[in-house]
């Protein structure tokens, strides 16, 4: 019996794990992680940094000791069509004396220096744990520096301990809100949208923008992928917000609906079904048969391009099983559907930030027996992967060694990846990567499979 079956689920974690198709209460979620549980989640700061990082022409400075800035230095796959300022790690690098006497002056000097040196369109100041504790008045400094430099200087209340990553998303949205509504909207047409919650990983925002522009829809701002401060300033002139990463951007979308009357729709750009649905829904929103016809033509054209190859790979992948552990629930939904498109089933699915409704939906859409989990940890994930005997794990950098150590194929679907996985072209890339890993001959030699392969060979010989 493998030792993994001995891995005890912590009592505090039991209610966060359910099986699709089985009775049981709602998935316990949306809470702080259990102490000592080695959660895969990060912190409030992480949430803010992820969301705002791709705004390319802004200065992003972390007010705190060096670690928080060092660990987030250009680790994302977000791309820019112009400015590269966002790819630097700026930090006040607080030292012991700053912690004792306060870091306000150091922050002010740093901001004035860096703004003079780099000429950004705006500056975001991220507060870390320690700043929350020593009580630096970051807002007041931002106000002073904004007055002195004549650019928006926005404080992001991202103290690590003040909630979960989701609270960091909210803090990021609140900072961006100060920019919205300050730009000229006069040349924005009636069929216009903002793309929200796409971060232009490997150029994904460009792919999506291209689809919408091809059917005749103006994209005012991409928030925040390949983001520009000036575009965000005028994004309230768009007629519709499309929110992809619902966890991160719904707050901003809601406040724009309230303040500027811009409605929003939740969509996903991953997988054929979801990408097509996003285009159709948008066309329907504008109530234009012409747009809808164009959308249909675009989908038909793009699907025809990728289908022959997808079908070939599907033949190899049919019946294989996957585990999915990602940040947000919308990505999980899309992945379950995209895996189906290439013939695979999802045997384990979990997220860091899903809410009760998300988990209800996962329960409904997954096959009975699928393990559904909120805020998991390495021991649980290993246990579930082995118990379900999966062939593929989809996650981020922290999940990769769990899969590889156990001899399981892996596909990175997190912000660090360098591969475009959105849109139709993204579906092709996704399927290529899944196929490449799942069908690799290396698994014949890992302990988990080597035994089985050996037995098969023996059988064939006898």
């Amino acid at each position: 019996m493998p030792a993994s079956t001995d891995i005890a689920i912590l009592p505090d974690r039991a209610a966060s794990i359910v099986e699709a198709g089985s009775a049981g209460g709602p998935v316990k979620c949306g809470k702080g992680s259990v102490a000592g549980s080695v959660s895969q989640r990060a912190c409030v700061f992480c949430g803010s940094r992820v969301v705002l990082y791709p705004i390319t022409d802004a200065l992003h400075i972390v007010h705190g000791p060096i670690g928080c800035a060092a660990y987030t230095w250009d680790i994302r796959g977000a791309q820019s069509s112009g400015p590269q300022l966002f790819r630097n790690a700026f930090s006040t690098d607080l030292q012991e004396l700053d912690v004792i006497y306060g870091g306000e002056q150091k922050l002010e000097h740093a901001l004035l220096d860096l703004i003079a040196q780099h000429g950004p369109k705006a500056a975001f100041v991220y507060s870390t744990c320690i700043v929350g504790l020593i009580g630096d008045d970051v807002k007041a400094i931002c106000k002073r520096v904004a007055a002195a430099t004549n650019i928006p200087v926005l404080s992001v209340a991202s103290e690590g301990f003040k909630g979960t990553k989701k609270d960091g998303y909210r803090a990021a949205c609140e900072a961006v809100q100060h920019l919205v509504g300050t730009g000229d909207t006069s040349d924005i047409g009636p069929h216009s949208i903002n793309l929200m919650g796409d971060f232009n990983i490997a150029g994904e925002s460009w792919v999506i923008r291209d689809y919408f522009e091809r059917i005749g829809i103006q994209v005012v701002a991409t928030i925040t992928g390949d983001g520009r401060v000036d575009a965000i300033r005028r994004c309230h002139g768009a007629k519709l917000n499309l929110v992809q990463c619902s966890g991160s951007m719904t707050h901003l979308a809601k406040s724009m609906e309230q303040d500027y009357g811009v409605p929003f729709k939740r969509v996903s750009f991953f997988g054929i079904e979801d990408m097509a649905a996003a285009l159709y829904e948008t066309a329907r929103f504008f109530d234009s048969p012409e747009l809808l016809d164009k959308a249909r033509a675009l989908v038909a054209e793009e699907v025809a391009k990728i289908m022959p190859q997808l079908s070939a790979w599907r033949a190899d992948l049919n019946g294989r099983k996957a585990a999915v552990y990602v940040g947000g629930a919308f990505k999980a939904f899309s992945l379950v559907r995209a895996l189906r498109t290439i013939g695979m089933t999802t045997a384990v699915v979990g997220t860091q930030t899903g809410d009760a409704e998300d988990y209800d939906q996962l329960r409904e859409m997954c096959d009975p027996g699928t393990i559904i989990v909120d805020d998991s940890n390495p021991l649980e994930l290993a246990k579930f992967c082995l118990a379900q005997d999966v062939d593929l794990f989809i996650g981020g950098v922290k999940e990769r060694p769990i899969a590889y150590k156990l001899g399981i194929g892996f596909c990175d679907h997190n912000h660090e990846r360098k591969e475009c996985l959105a849109g139709f072209v993204g579906m092709l890339n996704f399927a290529r990567e899944v196929h490449a890993t799942v069908t690799s001959p290396v698994w014949n030699y890992v302990p988990r499979r080597a035994g089985a392969a050996h037995l098969e060979l023996e059988e064939a010989r006898s």
Binding site: P2, S4, I7, A8, L10, S33, V34, A35, G36, S37, V38, S39, R41, A42, C43, V44, F45, C46, P65, I66, G67, A69, A70, Y71, T72, W73, N88, A89, S91, D93, L94, Q95, E96, L97, V99, H109, A110, D113, L114, Q117, C129, I130, L133, I134, G160, F161, G163, P378, L379, K383, V397, K398, R400, P401, Y404, K405, G407, V446, P447, R448
Partner: protein, 471 residues
Amino acid sequence: MKALPPDHAHPTPRGGTPEFPSASTNPCKLCTPLGACLAFKGIAGTVPLLHGSQGCATYIRRYLISHFREPVDIASSNFSEDSAVFGGRRNLHHALDNVGRQYHPDLVGVATTCLSETMGENMPMLLGEYHRESAADGLARPPTVHVSTPSYKGTHAEGFNDTVRALVESLALPPRAGLNAPTPPALLPGMVSPADLRHLRDFAAAWQSPVTLVPDYSETLDGGTWSDYERMPTGGTTVTDLRALGRAAVAIECGLVLAGAKATAGTHLARRCEVPLHRLGLPIGLRQTDALSDVFADLTGRPTPLRLAHERARLVDAYVDAHKYLSGRKAIVYGEEDLVASLAIFLAEIGIVPVLCAAGGRSGRLEKAILTNAPELANRIEVREGSDFADIEERITALKPDLLIGSSKGYKLARALDVPLVRCGFPVHDRLGAQRIQLLGYAGTQQLFDRIVNALLEAKQAHSEIGYSYL
């Protein structure tokens, strides 16, 4: 140029003032708890636990995983706003309970982050209470070792060294009557690669001497694939080994900058347990590896083993073969202070001038460490402490280096300059095999030497219009 004084008196050319140095742009260091977690990963059956916010553990895991490409489980006591206000006692105890339940560790390595440090968490009290309460309830709990790692004080390398010291201080027992049979030499190698740790063990074995490496993550962070999930990968210095360190025949502590520190694992063993202490550089290059050989020769009374003599001879032979490609070439070396110091001394002996030696740390001892051991570099190099990549970039046009030596973080500069980058140190996360990069001993120097020569030759070929196909 003079080494910069520590901490606040850090004059910077980028518009800062001594009172308010410029912000850091693209840091050349990481934070202290990362070093603590790495050191704890080298102790058998140990789970690192960060007392503070969840993010610290996750970011550090993410960074260590990218370098070592191995699972790195680090627990967190996961502070909330409540814990920041009322203290983290409950979280710490709960976290220790849960780590015990799931991992069954031999030891829990507790490091305090900037948050819990600033709150002034009384760790001896909180941990003492935990062990007392557990004992009263009849529960067996693994021992804990605490290290103070506020990230606003020092670098990841200092966090690493402080953790090694904390382990030795907490666990090594002074010799007692009836229990004083000497134990193997203690070798405290500093932040080196798993392959280098394995090589150091082989190096000692060539002298027919066993050795206790502290820490030893040669297996825990560079192991094979598993048939089942290993909660704590096998390998590492055992708690028993650590307890026996007080009776070690000798202690060898690597790191020339560390050698200037008042309190280290080595000084503790020397002062409290009267273990003879040798403070050496990281054994990179002939001079520094010879120094390590001398220690073993004294200790064992043997001449240099044939195997090592051959390795050394081959290295000298390689130096000769390649000297014309290296003579007068200029390198920028950056990273952890001890690594920078030892690399600079090695480069000096092969004819490369380390025109800029830059470190994120601010010990105030880097320049002296280099020049004492490689006096031929006097007046030929700049040594910068408290440096970052913007700082290095500022000097780069004037210095026109032929190559960069350091972590992956210099890649952008190397690319912009169109010069090769020889990757070593931490982190190396844009190449495979960081665990297997060798620098130490004659054999490790050979690997590094070949990489340096070939990087320069490759750059020459790449820039050649003709593309010569042999030397």
